[in-house]
């Protein structure tokens, strides 16, 4: 299958610090893949370089056949890539519905304020369509019913995570990037989250790229894993391959560590 995302020799420096160095990643369409690595390995920097938050010093990012290096994040989102954040970044003082509606920004067509001021038919229809879509997405991520008009900040952590995913889905992405989406969740919540990630691919046909810490999540869901350490890719392959890789074990668990099957 054709790759939906390719990173060619991505290097990102902060002053003298090389956060990411010559990373090559290729992600096939329709996969659920993960980037893993110890804390500070440069995973989030890779995410930020893909989504346009950072401009990598070297290398190119190709998304769906188009080079996107140097494009602004909003342009990249418009092309069909959307993300969530490691520390949930919902619009705290907006309602749940509004959060998801903002996510649909690039998929609604009221380009000027004129329609909004005149409350034209086109405006009302577009608005109604966005609202309906937001409701459906909130339902898709299994948000308990009736929470649409709550302020985002008033909801518990696990629900905020779901809303963030719904918000990203509203942008109708072909590829969704989830930055440590199960961080801070208890085992049941993690379990439910993994089910949700699978449904993103199975029911919506979205390619999923995860950054994950939790080995259980990674191994349970990923079909392809890239391992990053000190800004470099040290291994990749199927979960089974990666977990046997000696360099990965050393990077993750320290030297002389062994992993028991289970």
């Amino acid at each position: 299958m054709a790759p939906i995302l390719e990173l060619h020799k991505i290097t990102k420096r902060f002053g003298g610090l090389v956060a990411v160095s010559g990373v090559e990643i290729s992600l096939d369409k329709g996969r659920i893949a993960s980037i893993i690595g110890p804390n500070g390995a440069g995973k989030t920097t890779i995410f930020n370089s893909i989504t346009g938050v950072y401009k990598p010093e070297e290398g190119t990012v190709v998304f769906d056949g188009h080079p996107i290096t140097g494009m602004r994040p909003d342009q990249i989102t418009a092309m069909g890539m959307c993300r969530t954040f490691q520390n949930i970044r919902l619009f705290q003082n907006m309602s749940v519905m509004e959060n998801v509606m903002v996510g649909a920004h690039t998929r609604t067509t009221q380009s000027t304020g004129i329609g909004a001021v005149l409350r034209t038919k086109a405006f009302r229809e577009a608005e109604e369509a966005v609202r309906l879509k937001a409701k459906q997405l909130l339902r898709f991520v299994d948000l308990p019913l009736g929470l649409g008009d709550q302020l985002a900040r008033n909801l518990p952590y696990g629900q905020q995570r779901r809303i963030e995913i719904a918000r990203a889905l509203a942008a109708e992405p072909k590829l969704i990037l989830l930055d440590e989406p199960t961080a801070g969740m208890n085992p049941q919540e993690t379990e439910a989250a993994i089910r949700l990630f699978r449904r993103l691919r199975d029911e919506m046909g979205i390619t999923v790229l995860l950054i994950e810490h939790d080995m259980k999540v990674v191994m349970g869901i990923s079909e392809w894993v890239s391992v990053i350490d000190y800004g470099q890719k040290i291994a990749e392959g199927t979960p089974a391959e990666v977990r046997k890789n000696q360099r990965v074990i050393e990077a993750y668990l320290g030297r002389h560590a062994t992993v028991h099957e289970g």
Binding site: R89, Q92, V117, G146
Partner: protein, 479 residues
């Protein structure tokens, strides 16, 4: 969480209203509410008609509008009552005391400015300390083209013009309303472009500088080309032409008879400007309110809340911020044109930093991001400014001329130092007001309530009766 299926949505919404609005709304609920409000307005109007100069009554009349706002009734009823108050009662009392129209005009003017600033500061979260600059752009635009200033470009300030005619006819006022909007929006973009990358304090300082630049330009552009006439300001500025039957015909005659006071051209213009400002204010309220609940409005709020996340969701930062600056500025640009025509005079003093600050005070006092709050804030600050403090000063000075003694301390009023004039304590009063607000109600008098989206429980796809149980179970398992 658990919604009881049998519960009607009607009772739920009234319950929500009551708990949200508090005491005044509860008192005004039911069919007695409108009757009370109408009675209140009638009594105040009657008293004010007999005692047109009573400060308290003026205040109570404007407070009537607030009562109407808090009524928990249908929107059309509230609009009707507010409309009658603004279109009929205030002008009617204004026949007796034209000062009421002046208050109305200024409240509408500053409410418009505050609403414009509210788009920038309240919606988009970009602190702008030089907002009055856009007002100045509109005012000076009409001042320069609507006066004889264009004949004076090469003479030194203060020279009398040798021409009798104005370079542009007075009717140009109307197209210049549009030009004022455009010029101010352009100035908004001009300010917006260099500050796009700045946040918080830095942004505030640059906008403060921008405001001062405009004022200093107005002050100094009398050389080499005398564009603004310097600190002396420009006068006379033309007022838009009104048809003769309004200015001289049967209408003013009839009004004179009704009010028992000679209604001249100036009075008719006072009515005209009052209505013009109110119309523009209403337009601004509608415009801002509708923008707030649209894709653009949501983008503004999103940027205010978290610009990194907003951009990641596809909101173009640059364009969204620039639209906020441009639209916010546009409202005050048109108001500037109206203001210049109303005063027939502009000078740089009107557009000082303190003016910018007091517009900001209106926004913060009323409630950042809340349209009704901002209008109320503008009304309070403006009335304090031009009415309450001035009236107190006047009364104090009349006491001073008498022979009375100050109670308790036994000093004659005449010996009270003039430094204690309330009108001199404008800024002090605002400062105190702000401090009190920040301590006890930092969200403003009428805080912005993030709009409750109308989730019709009946047709909500989130709550289909067949699946609802299922979803609930997932939720308890998931969270």
């Amino acid at each position: 969480m658990s919604e009881q299926p049998g519960k009607s949505s009607g009772s739920k919404s009234t319950k929500r209203d009551l708990s949200d609005e508090g005491l005044i709304t509860r008192l005004l609920a039911g069919p007695l509410g409108p009757i009370f409000v109408i009675g209140y307005l009638a009594v105040v109007t009657f008293l004010l008609y007999r005692e047109p100069r009573a400060l308290l009554l003026r205040f109570l009349l404007f407070a009537g509008l607030l009562l109407i706002y808090y009524m928990p009734h249908k929107a059309w009823l509230k609009l009707l009552l507010a409309g009658v108050t603004v279109v009929a009662i205030i002008p009617a009392v204004g026949l007796k005391n034209p000062f009421l129209l002046e208050i109305g005009f200024q409240v509408a003017t500053f409410a418009t400015l505050a609403l414009g600033l509210n788009i920038v500061v309240g919606f988009a979260g970009l602190l702008d300390l030089g907002y009055v600059a856009f007002f100045a752009v509109g005012a000076y635009l009409w001042a320069i083209f609507g006066s004889q200033q264009l004949w004076q470009l090469h003479s030194s300030p203060g020279t009398a013009t040798v021409y009798n005619v104005f370079p542009l006819g007075a009717w140009w006022f109307w197209p210049f309303l549009i030009f004022g909007i455009t010029a101010a929006a352009g100035a908004g973009m001009l300010l917006g472009t260099p500050v796009l990358r700045l946040r918080g304090d830095y942004l505030a300082i640059v906008t403060l500088g921008f405001g001062e630049v405009i004022r200093v330009l107005a002050n100094n552009l009398d050389k080499p080309i005398n564009l603004t006439n310097g600190p002396q300001g420009i006068t006379p500025i033309q007022r838009p032409p009104l048809p003769d039957f309004i200015l001289h015909g049967a209408l003013p005659n009839w009004l004179s008879q009704v009010s028992g006071r000679t209604i001249g051209e100036g009075d008719m213009y006072a009515f005209f400007f009052y209505f013009l400002a109110v119309v523009w204010l209403v337009f601004t309220i509608a415009f801002a309110g509708r923008l707030e609940n649209s894709r653009l409005g949501r983008s503004w709020t999103a940027i205010r809340e978290d610009d990194v996340a907003a951009v990641a969701m596809g909101v173009p930062l640059r364009r969204t911020k620039l639209t906020a600056f441009a639209i916010g500025a546009a409202f005050s640009g048109a108001m500037g044109v109206i203001y210049a025509a109303n005063r027939t005079f502009v000078s740089p003093e009107t557009f000082s930093l303190t003016q910018s600050i007091s517009v900001l005070v209106m926004v913060i006092l009323g409630g950042l991001g809340s349209i009704p709050g901002v209008v109320l804030g503008a009304a309070i600050v403006t009335m304090l400014n031009i009415d309450v403090l001035q009236t107190l000063s006047l009364q104090l000075s009349s006491l001073r001329q008498g022979t009375g003694m100050i109670p308790l301390i036994g000093v004659p009023w005449a010996e009270l130092p003039t430094q204690l004039d309330p009108a001199r304590y404008q800024r002090l009063v605002f400062g105190l007001l702000l401090i009190i607000m920040m301590i006890f109600r930092p969200e403003g008098i009428i805080p912005s309530r993030r709009r409750k989206l109308e989730l019709h429980e009946d047709d909500d796809p989130l709550a289909p009766p067949a699946d609802s149980e299922n979803v609930l179970i997932t939720s308890t398992g998931g969270d």
